[in-house]
Amino acid sequence: MNFKIKKVILEKEAQQYPFAKRVLEQLRSSTPVTMDEASQPPFVDELDPDKSTLRLLSFPGQLLKPCPGTREYLCCGYQILNIGTNCPLDCSYCILQAYFNQPCLRVFVNVEQQLQAIGETLQSSEGKIFRIGTGEFTDSLALDPMVKWTQVLPSFAAKHAKAVLEFKTKTVSIEGLLSSPHRDRIVVSWSLNSPSIAAAEEHGAPSIRKRLEAARTCQREGYTLGFHFDPLIEHPSWEEEYARTVDLLDRFIDPSKVIWISLGCLRFMPSLKGVIRKRFPKTRILDGEFIHGLDGKMRYIKPLRTEMYGFMKEKLAQWGFWKGLYLCMESREVWHKAFGWAPEDSRGLSNYLDSRAGETFGMPSPSPA
């Protein structure tokens, strides 16, 4: 990976947290640190997200929240653990470009205190599996060499029998994971794409091959893996291109130890288009036929989505993976057309994945949909 933190800003109310102190110890010798009295950073220039500044702050709200989803499409019932926002990678399609109005790589240093409260909530809830992930608003591992999330989060999962914790990444920063003693109910997932999309659009991210080499290491070290083909992007020879990635999966990964694979075609808030055009004038990701989806986001026309999902399903089945394949934010109609079946509703999809987690980790879980 090719990024460097040039400056650390420590917000006033963040200074008391041990997490912040540990990060500063890690970085102080190499990076200038600024103490910031103001809790609000200046207005972000959408064209300059300032990915070289690390801002340490205490997040005042709830760190664990259900994925917002929308009622028009099936949502998997994921829980987002918001450990930070923005990401040092610079994928042209990244929704974070239009999602957050604050610059810098933001890391929430009160995560340990919040985890305590989250643990209590988990314990008091009845018979539910919590699939929790940290890779929605940032990459789960990109900043790990500096902030050491892997020293904090796996032990949380170990303590709470209802939690399945997923690290979602495009990076190869797995050293922290490898040195952690915990494996149970932890999923390490890689976001995958076609090799050409990875090279042209996922700026700063390692190649697909390197990601899969890291995944293989984790699998050999006893971790359960997941993969996310999201966003699937229509591009010249996309069938061959995505088949190449599945071929690489075949070469590096044992499919029987993969808990789930999600598929999701490129979708974005309409306001993102202008940002992408300005920040990445050479990108081809906007070439496809996008329509306004029922949730207001731009997405490919239905037959194209169906075609792409159907193709991926077939390829992954040829590789040996079929249990745990799901679509992210899709309609029942598209599920049916692409997969030949569909969960009844979002709860059905959630149960399906909970069952998969139960089966993988020996947790009590609902029957599959």
Partner: protein, 330 residues
């Protein structure tokens, strides 16, 4: 601005200015753009010049207009040779004071158009720091205190004159101007030409630019290459179409080029729906993007008998069963 100086405007020395020696441009202080002098000329013709312009002597020894640029142009247009003005060289000693006098005088009496805002921001840059412009002046111009906005307004001044005029009189929206300033000149001129010829309204302009840009980038062609398609020529030369109809036809042609599969599927659905004889007050609706898999049948009726009649008309229609699933590609 010093209060004293404000109070002393009227006591500036009265002078008769030789209009022949006054340049036609707004000079360093005034900020009028895209105006029509007709009403002002008529007013002066009828009742004379009520308020005297303010002028200040410059380093070349001639006068710059501090306030009253349009009045002076109107007097010139009326063939006047001299104008009675107040020389405020002493009471407004610095260029910033003169600029602010011009600004606040206008601010109190009228709205600035976007080109005038751009002119003022540009002029302020010569005297005031960016932070002060953002904090103090942009809110007065009803603009967000955002550096990106400031940069955009300054870029407006680099646009070609025709586009600047269109911005000033709101013939093109500020959103469109934002898109245009980022383009290279040839492309910008080509798009502006089409927008002007077709007299696209503000909503149409943005769609037009988006379609053309998407097609241009996707197909790796130039804008003239896109419009070299004879479909566009036929639309433009069709004597049975008025300008708004031509605008719609061009936009539709671009839409079909941008979304070929969607457009084809929409057309297939539209023709299937159009074959059904609908009773009065009834219609079949569907999501234009064909994302929602369901059609919706709407029947308006005043009483049960009307509903029965509507159903009786619909019931025997064989074409109902020919309605395809939404998104069945032909």
């Amino acid at each position: 601005m010093r209060r004293r100086a404000l109070m002393e405007f009227s006591r500036g020395q009265g002078i008769h200015l030789d209009l022949g020696k006054m340049a036609d441009d707004p000079g360093p202080y005034t900020m009028s753009y895209g105006f029509n002098l007709d009403v002002l000329c008529e007013s002066i013709r009828k009742v004379g010049l009520i308020n005297s312009p303010l002028v200040a002597r410059n380093q070349e020894g001639t006068f710059d207009i501090v306030s009253g640029y349009r009045r002076i142009l109107a007097l010139k247009a009326l063939g006047e040779r001299n104008a009675f003005c107040h020389d405020v060289t002493t009471v407004l000693a610095s260029p910033l004071e003169r600029l602010l006098a011009a600004f606040y005088e206008n601010l109190a009496t009228r709205k600035f158009n976007d080109m005038e805002k751009a002119m003022l921001l540009h002029k302020l840059q010569g005297h005031v720091g960016t932070e002060e412009i953002l904090a103090s002046f942009m809110p007065l111009l009803s603009l967000p205190s955002h550096e990106g906005t400031l940069k955009f307004y300054l870029k407006l001044l680099t646009l070609e004159e025709g586009i600047q005029n269109a911005v000033a009189v709101e013939q093109i929206s500020i959103k469109v101007a934002k898109a245009l300033v980022e383009m290279e000149e040839g492309l910008r001129q080509a798009l502006f030409h089409w927008i002007s010829v077709l007299k696209l309204n503000l909503n149409q302009q943005m769609k037009f630019i988006e379609y053309v840009e998407d097609i241009r980038i996707r197909d790796e062609v130039t804008t003239p290459e896109i419009f070299s398609d004879e479909v566009f020529l036929k639309v433009l030369e069709n004597p049975r179409l008025n300008t708004p109809q031509k605008a719609k036809a061009v936009l539709e042609t671009l839409r079909v080029k941008r979304f070929p599969r969607l457009a084809q599927a929409q057309q297939a659905i539209e023709s299937a729906v159009s074959t059904i004889s609908m009773p009065p007050g009834a219609s079949i609706q569907y999501d234009p993007y064909l994302e929602d898999p369901y059609y919706h049948l709407e029947i308006k009726f005043k009483h049960g008998k009307e509903l029965r009649n509507a159903i009786d008309i619909l019931h025997p229609s064989r074409n109902l069963e020919a309605l395809p699933e939404l998104w069945t590609e032909p």
